[in-house]
Symmetry: D2
Subunit: 104 residues, 4 copies
């Protein structure tokens, strides 16, 4: 998988790096949400209240995914597009599959 | 909020109780997934690989939500339906709003 | 499939009947949206503008699904819950599967 | 909106053009699905059966959206990336917003 090796070698340019702390904080908060929902279930809270928290956590995860995806398009994909050819094509296919996993 | 107080008083009958351990284990795993994604970002892993893990975590959360919702329908909503009248109506409205939050 | 036959016999009570005209109008509008998107593609409009219309059409379909589902819970499921036993259980399972198809 | 005008002028290069007939056929089928659901409601078919058809139609629409988006990334966005600068940035922002509308 040359593509991925290239990416690994060039990992200093991964798009989200500039906002790394923002993403790390968001994941910390999401981990806290998981712990909060665990506690709600352990305390036998009302199902609908738990579902509300699950929806909030899902939205937080979606926001992370959309942010990472935009950063990926703006950096890795744009860089590959400049190179063009098979590498650009492979990056678009890969990004499109990631988008399909998010949508479905 | 008479409805919710009734629910609180009757919390021993919350539908998910029979599977409480299953849900607690799932939430522990989801918390672990959040920690794993945090580490991937900290280690500056490839964006697409992180997105794959975010999608897996979102699916795990959706499965929890669908399970809780089915339990809720099978117990709280069925019980309210037997009583009928305004309480049944309120439970259906509440469940429908929770479903809408999951779908959108 | 006794369950479904029962439902067929009792179809005068299908929950959405009271709002039948509303749903018929919505489907007419959705059909018009499909025709509009067909024309945009035929006219080679800008991809992002087409995607915006596809998203609007998806939202309209989701609203129909959520409305039908709420009507179904309020009528068919509540009626089955009053009967109780296996019929109620089967209706909840069936509704939960429909919800899962909407969420995923 | 210079961006969009540029796109309009260059519309012969819109990415989906190569598959125009495929998209036109899909939209025709989706229009037929809308008509079928309209008829099911008019005939007062069982709610769950209608919901199954609505889910199938939503999946068909999502497949169109994902196809259009991939074509858009592969052509318009890659072309803009080669130009670089503000136009590339604007295209990525625009595509990311379209993706967010699909995901939410």
């Amino acid at each position: 998988m040359t593509d991925r090796q290239t990416s690994a070698e060039a990992h200093a340019h991964h798009g989200y790096i500039t906002d790394k702390d923002k993403y790390l904080n968001r994941l910390k908060r999401i981990e806290g949400q998981a712990r909060g929902i665990h506690k709600m279930i352990d305390d036998e809270k009302y199902c609908i209240d738990i579902l509300t928290q699950v929806s909030a956590m899902t939205s937080a995860l979606e926001a992370v995914a959309l942010g990472l995806l935009e950063d990926h398009l703006r950096h890795c994909v744009v860089d590959a597009a400049k190179v063009g050819g098979a590498e650009a094509d492979a990056k678009i296919t890969e990004a499109s599959q990631a988008i399909a996993r998010l949508v479905r």
